[in-house]
Each structure stands twice: as C-alpha cells, then as structure tokens.
C-alpha cells in the first residue's frame, strides 16, 4: 500500500503528468493557450514512430518468442469482449440509451496509445523491461472493439459497416505508422537504433511532455463543453471500467506468461479507452450517437484517471502479484 502511494506520488509529480495538469488547468481557466493542430499531429506522428520503432528493435534483440502470436490473439479477444462488459456496466450505472451505450462501450474495448506510451515511460523510469511486441498488441486491440460495438446495436438491423469503413479502420494512420515503424525497427535492429537514437530516444520524454500538455488542453475543453452532459453514473463508469479492464488484462497476461513490464502494459491497454480511431468510426457508422458523450468520457474522465492514478495502480498490483 505504501508502495502504491509512493508510486502514485512519484507519478503525480513527474513532468509528464504535471504538463497534462497544466493543460487541463489552462483550458478550464479559458486561457487561449493552444497547440496548433498541425503541431499536435506532428508530435503524435513522432511518438507513434518512436514507440513502434523501439518496440521493433527490442523484438529484433530478444527474438520472437512463442507468446508473441498468443499475445496478439489475446489482445484481439480482450478488445472484442471488453465492450460487452462495458455495455452491461453502462446500462446498469448510467441512464444512457442502447445506442449511446454501445458507442461508449466500443471506446473502452479499444485502446489509447498515449496511455500506453505514458505507461512505457513509467516502466522505463522504474527500470522495468517489457516485451517489445506489446506495441503490436496495442495495434491489434484498436479495431475489434468497433465491431463488437456495432454488433451490439445492429443485431436485427441491417449492417452499418461497409467495406470502405472497414478499410479505413484497419488502415487508419496511427495503426499503419505504429506497425510500420515496428517492422522498420525489427528489420534495422540495434544498428538502426544507433543511427537515429538521438532522435527517437533522447528527446522522447520531453516531446511526450508537450504532447500531454496539448492532451490536457483538449481534455479540459472537452470537460468544459461536454461535462454537463455526463450524469454521475457515466462518470462512475469512466473510473470503474478501467480497473475492471486492467484486471482482465492481468489475467490474460498471467495466462500468457508475460514479464512484469508486459503485464503492466497489457493491463494499461485493457484499461484505456480510445479517443481517436473509435470516435472516427462511430461518426461514420453511428452518426446518431452523441460524440460529446463518448469523447468526454474517454478523454476527459478515463484518460486522466489512467494517466494519474491508473498506471501506478496497475504497476503496483502487478508488482505485488509478481512479487508473491
């Protein structure tokens, strides 16, 4: 317990979390501080490229072990099942109708890559190694949840999914970049890393700080605008669902035999909620669902929860389980 608290405190006072807090505070105070759209997108391209590349290099170094394939499968299953759980929980806790509940549920099966990156950086600070292929698992978990969410409503109804939407989801920029960089890292290995490490490694945390500043600004604006739309039931869901997801992630990780680091990352992935890929798919497939609800929950409630409290909690729990 003391350990959890100290971890949480440490995490709370890291530049990364403080930058996020600064962003939230600035936007709640209605400051005009803002990161230009193009700059924010450039930062995210950098982060995806760096994290994918480093994952690939690490796989090249440690070799592809048996669990890689199984982890991918586990990721797909988690992503597909979590929305069903989330849907049931939402219907119990909040007054959301089926349509909006399904849309929200889809977000919680999928993942937030920035939460994943933040977890990686906490692991790094604590000197805990993790499987490089977890970035591939992250990519695998993006899309299945969308299908589950659509299935939740369209049972009976005619399909809302057309081929072009399906292609858009599977080939969305983030997945392609993450997976592509992963393969580039795998192919070029340590030699490639040496060439570009002063780009992808050294400044990484600093870039993450600025990115989280922007995330804080966006989350704060979302809360200011969409906060009043959320009932207490929904908000409760936004902080209860992550630990539940993490618990399922923990079970899967133990069954797969992942390392401590890998376990924390799978827990974090399961606990996190999408705010880029899934919203885009929902706007096309479920235009009647209210984006303010799912975006505010995922970005304004669950993202901060995971960043500030969730990640240290998952690390502490996993450490406890592994220590025992």
């Amino acid at each position: 317990m003391a350990e959890i608290l100290s971890l949480a405190a440490n995490n709370l006072l890291s530049p990364i979390v403080l930058c996020f807090v600064l962003g939230v505070a600035a936007s709640l105070a209605k400051s005009d501080l803002s990161v230009p759209e193009a700059a924010a997108k450039a930062l995210s391209i950098y982060l995806l490229f760096a994290i994918g590349f480093k994952g690939g290099v690490s796989v090249a170094a440690h070799g592809v072990d048996m669990t890689l394939g199984l982890s991918l499968v586990a990721g797909v299953i988690l992503s597909a099942l979590l929305p069903l759980l989330a849907f049931a929980l939402l219907r119990a806790l909040s007054g959301l109708d089926r349509l909006n509940a399904a849309a929200v549920a889809g977000h919680y099966g999928s993942i937030s890559i920035v939460t994943f990156v933040a977890a990686t950086s906490v692991l790094e600070s604590s000197g805990i190694a993790s499987e490089g292929y977890m970035v591939a698992v992250a990519a695998a978990m993006e899309a299945p949840a969308i299908l589950s969410a659509l299935w939740l409503i369209s049972r009976g109804e005619s399909g809302r999914m057309d081929a072009s939407l399906w292609r858009e989801i599977m080939l969305n920029g983030s997945i392609v970049l993450l997976v592509g960089a992963f393969f580039i890292g795998m192919i070029t290995g340590q030699e490639g890393l040496d060439e570009i490490s002063s780009f992808v490694v050294s400044p990484f945390k600093g870039v993450l700080c600025l990115f989280l500043l922007d995330m804080g600004l966006v989350a704060g604006r979302g809360l200011a605008k969409g906060g009043k739309l959320l009932g207490w039931g929904s908000i409760a869901f936004g902080v209860i669902m992550p630990p539940i997801g993490a618990a399922l992630g923990l079970i899967a990780a133990l069954m797969l035999g992942l390392s401590l680091g890998g376990t924390v990352l799978l827990m974090t992935l399961s606990a996190s909620a999408s705010y880029i890929a899934v919203p885009a798919a929902m706007r096309v497939a479920l235009p009647e669902a209210n984006p303010s609800i799912y975006l505010t929950l995922s970005l304004g409630v669950t993202f901060p929860f995971n960043l500030v409290l969730g990640i240290p909690l998952y690390l502490a729990v996993a450490s406890f389980v592994f220590g025992a």
Partner: protein, 103 residues
C-alpha cells in the same frame, strides 16, 4: 464580359464524411467542386473550434459546387443521401459564371 447562369451549392459537412461526399458527387456526375477548410462553428450541437479537436472524427469542411441549373437536383439528391443522418448545412445561391463550357 459574357457570363452564364448557374447554381452555387455550399455544403458544410463533417470532415470524416469528406471522401464519402466526394465519391457520391462524382458518382452523380458532379465532377467540379472546391473544398474549403472550416475553422469552427456553431449549431444545435454547440460551439466548437479547431483547437479543441483530437482526432479525425471532428471538424468540418465546406464543399462549394458550381453547377448548371439542370444538374442541381441530381447534385442535391446525391449530397442529401450523404448528409441526411449527419450534421451539416446545405444552401444554394444563384450565380453567374465565366467560361460556361467548363460546367
């Protein structure tokens, strides 16, 4: 200068629907349009602007299509199918064009 009557159709629609509307227009044989970026706006779903966006799901664009009057209905029908369930606005103005052979 010699000008010719035409219609100017302005469609404000979610960015995520941009490629779908493009495709629908081209399918309806409307090959000429210009797409403007939108910086922000307000409607029944409230006030928004670009700085508050995280992903591809948000933001709008504005299509401007100049068409001959006789093509207007085909255009509107095609556009309406895409816009129907989505937020967005369609308005039509009378205009004159130079180089009518292009339309």
């Amino acid at each position: 200068m010699q000008t010719h009557k035409a219609k100017r159709v302005e469609i404000t629609i979610e960015k995520i629907m941009q490629s779908r509307l493009s495709d629908a227009l081209v399918k309806a044989d409307v090959h000429g349009f210009t797409i403007l970026p939108v910086y922000g706006g307000s409607g029944r779903s409230g006030l928004w602007d670009r700085t508050g966006q995280v992903g591809r799901a948000e933001g709008m664009v504005q299509f401007i299509c100049i068409v001959r009057e006789e093509r207007l209905d085909a255009l509107l029908t095609a556009a309406f199918k895409v816009v129907e369930k989505h937020i967005g606005v369609v308005n039509i103005t009378d205009c004159e064009v130079l180089r009518a052979e292009r339309f």
